[in-house]
């Protein structure tokens, strides 16, 4: 089958229950189409996403990691996403300093009503990752 050759990235998506997961659902109920690359992990709040999860996923060979939460100010838990943003900023910086591909990580704010935005982010991020190619970590032995 043709699909075999074409590289379909695997992207782990941490979605907060109240905004982004609902947004992703809305994309579905609106029958929007986006690549099957996204593998959603539901968390109650984006602030539950321990940076170590992201590191593990990256080292594990995930082609991309998306963290999506409520827009700043709209967090169901008032301020969780502000901490998420700080932790993400730190992690990104660590990746950059060590020459790791921080562009395989994405932080995006997607509300429950932004089904279209979710589909857009999913599609564009997938395209971006396709350009960067397969994660080079899948076959590393000495991690």
């Amino acid at each position: 089958m043709k699909k075999e050759e074409e590289f379909m990235p695997k992207i782990l998506a941490f979605l907060c229950n109240w905004c982004s997961y609902a947004g992703a659902d809305l994309a579905g109920t609106s029958r929007l189409k986006y690549p099957p690359s996204i593998l959603p992990i539901r968390v109650m709040c984006s602030s539950r996403v321990d940076p170590l999860f992201i590191i593990r996923a990256y080292l594990g060979g995930m082609d991309g990691v998306l963290i999506a939460g409520c827009h700043p100010g709209d967090c169901h838990y008032e301020k969780g996403n502000y901490y998420t943003r700080r932790r993400f900023a730190m992690l990104k910086k660590i990746f950059d300093e060590l020459g790791l591909e921080s562009d395989r990580l994405l932080l995006s704010w997607i509300s429950a009503s932004e089904g279209t935005k979710y589909a857009k982010v999913a599609t564009e991020f997938t395209e971006k990752i396709k350009k960067s190619g397969k994660s080079p970590l899948k076959n590393k032995i000495f991690l």
């Binding site: 089958m1 699909k3 997961y21 099957p36 593998l39 602030s47 539950r48 996403v49 589909a119």
Partner: protein, 561 residues
């Protein structure tokens, strides 16, 4: 005990079946470790579907359930109930979303199937690490904290207090009554204020269901509707912290007035005999309206809208109490000249118009003016202003009364922070919805009444107090059960190193510090389970139930394969 996981894929009519090769999914998972049975069904959320699941669980003696169907936001609850009915803990269940986030968004059937397999496998791997959680039920606390002992607070307290509902009324000053106690009379009917307030304060004192704290400030309010923990500080006493629990909070902190020193043009603070409205009210109540030199004024200017421009809103009531001042003066000082300097008159409502006309009959001047400035000329005060016809005029008087804008009290932001509600542009507490939720706020169980929400006259204030009381009485019924979050955080005593990181990032103050053990402790009734502490804890001492490290990690590992 050996795990027996049942995996059930829902066709959801054509919704999933058309896009996902369900048999392929079943094949892929049926032989996985712990999977006792893997079946499909046309519509699991239907009555028959639920019956089918229940029977299956019993028939195969399943210990864990995985359903591949729609979004958890659709039917997680439904299937958790099925689990309960079938006698397994509802948290030993995981729902894989292969509809909204798979079947419906994927063009290609093979790809959709492949993803559905992944998501189902991940759910199976995750469910292996689930543990039973028990629902907690606590009785809601019917008591109410009322902050502010002015008209608004007093009214709310009296409306709410009853044998099965205790009211805690906290006033930062030494006595109840608030601003109004300074007024001799109230507009528009010029009835003595004491008629309104004296009796009510009396009633409060006599009501054993109302506990009054004067000279006290609220330090902390943590929790949620039906279950707030309150800490107040008494300014005057020694061991001065009092703690109690309530079910709802009413903010009735009233208002302050704009400081005319910020608009030097009006000469306040510079010249004698320039008074603010409140100063004049006090002077009037004291029985003698007089100038610095002890004589009664022959001419008085009342300047409206002081600070309106700076504040950016009309304070609604200044015009009316300014009229009231004119009446005071005319009644007490025969022949006194009174002139109002205004830019627009605000005379709302059915009774104010009459009041305005009555006042004008007392030959009071109303001068529409702009660029009003107060200067001193010899022993007289001179009002310079631009008239409607743009002519520059001046108007000498003995006394000036400034009607400054109404603004929030100084502790408004502090209390907004404590009760985690927001503030509107003017800095007043923000209502949930301008029209549909005028007394409720963004925090369930916290209500705002009176001038704390915006400038208001007394009757409007009473209306709001009664509205808030009504909302509380109808929802916070004594004996009503509330279910606190089950998926809360917990902190391992043996691994916690006491760095308080979790405490700093908890939005609800749900984590306290045990000073003797030097460790953090989660108050599970207050925790809402966001998991921020879990991610922030460096030593893995904090875990979020049902979203533990392992549960998420195993889900991820499967996805990463």
């Amino acid at each position: 005990m050996e795990r027996k996981i049942g995996v059930y894929v829902c066709e959801c009519g054509p919704n999933i079946a058309e896009k996902v090769d369900i048999d392929k999914v079943l094949n892929a998972v049926s032989s996985l470790e712990g999977v006792a049975v893997a079946e499909k069904y046309k519509l699991l959320c239907s009555v028959d579907g639920k019956k089918f699941l229940e029977d299956e669980i019993k028939k195969h003696g399943l210990t864990h359930l995985v359903v591949s169907a729609c979004s958890p936001k659709q039917h997680e609850q439904t299937f958790m109930e099925v689990c309960e009915n079938a006698g397994i803990n509802p948290y030993l269940f995981q729902l894989a979303n292969i509809r909204e986030q798979c079947a419906w968004i994927t063009e290609d059937k093979d790809e959709a199937t492949e993803k559905a397999i992944r998501l189902t496998k991940a759910a199976i791997r995750r469910v292996r690490y689930h543990s039973s959680l028990e629902k907690k039920e606590i009785e809601c606390n019917p008591d109410v904290l009322v902050i502010g002992g002015g008209v608004a607070g007093i009214e709310a307290s009296l409306q709410l207090a009853s044998s099965d509902r205790k009211i805690y009324l906290v006033e930062k000053n030494s006595s109840l009554g608030g601003l109004i106690t300074n007024f001799e009379k109230t507009f528009p009917n010029m009835k003595p204020t004491s008629d309104i307030i004296k009796q009510k304060i009396q009633d409060i004192a006599e009501n054993e269901n109302i506990k009054v704290f004067t000279d006290a400030e609220v330090e902390e309010v943590i929790g949620f509707f039906g279950n707030f923990e309150v800490k107040i500080k008494k300014k005057t006493e020694e061991n001065n912290v009092v703690e109690f629990d309530v079910g709802a909070v009413v903010l009735a902190t009233g208002s302050a007035s704009f400081d005319p020193k910020k608009t030097p043009g009006y000469g306040y603070g510079k010249f004698d005999d320039v008074f603010t409205a409140l100063e004049f009210e006090k002077m009037n109540s004291s029985g003698k309206i007089s100038l610095k030199n002890g004589k009664a004024p022959k001419s008085v200017a009342i300047i409206h809208c002081v600070g309106r421009e700076e504040k950016g809103y009309c304070s609604e009531i200044c015009c009316m109490y300014s009229l009231k001042f004119a009446c005071y003066l005319k009644d007490k000082i025969p022949g006194v000249k009174v002139s109002h300097f205004y830019s627009d008159l605000c005379i709302p409502g059915k009774s104010c118009q009459k009041f305005y006309e009555k006042t004008t009959e007392k030959n009071v001047d109303f001068i529409r003016a702009t660029d009003v400035e107060v200067i001193k000329q010899g022993d007289k005060i001179n009002i310079k202003y631009k008239a409607e016809n743009n002519s520059k005029n001046s108007h000498p008087v003995d006394m000036v009364i400034l009607s400054p804008a109404i603004e929030p009290t100084s502790d408004t932001s502090r209390l907004a922070e404590i009760t985690s509600i927001s503030q509107s542009d003017g800095g007043f507490f923000a209502e949930e919805h301008e029209k549909l939720g005028p007394v409720s706020t963004s925090t369930d169980g916290v209500y705002i009444v009176g001038c704390a929400q915006g400038p208001k006259n007394i009757s409007e204030t009473i209306v709001q107090s009664e509205a808030a009381a009504g909302k509380i009485l109808s929802s916070l019924v004594p004996g009503r059960k509330i279910e606190p979050e089950v998926k809360t955080s917990q902190i391992s005593e043996s691994f916690c190193i006491g760095c308080k990181t979790c405490i700093s990032v908890c939005p609800y103050g749900a984590i306290t510090f045990d000073e003797t053990k030097k460790i953090s402790v989660v108050n599970e009734v207050i925790c809402r389970g966001c998991g921020s502490c879990t991610a922030a804890c460096p030593s893995g001492a904090a875990t979020l139930k049902h979203f533990t490290f392992n549960q998420l990690y195993q889900e991820i590992v499967e996805a990463v394969q």
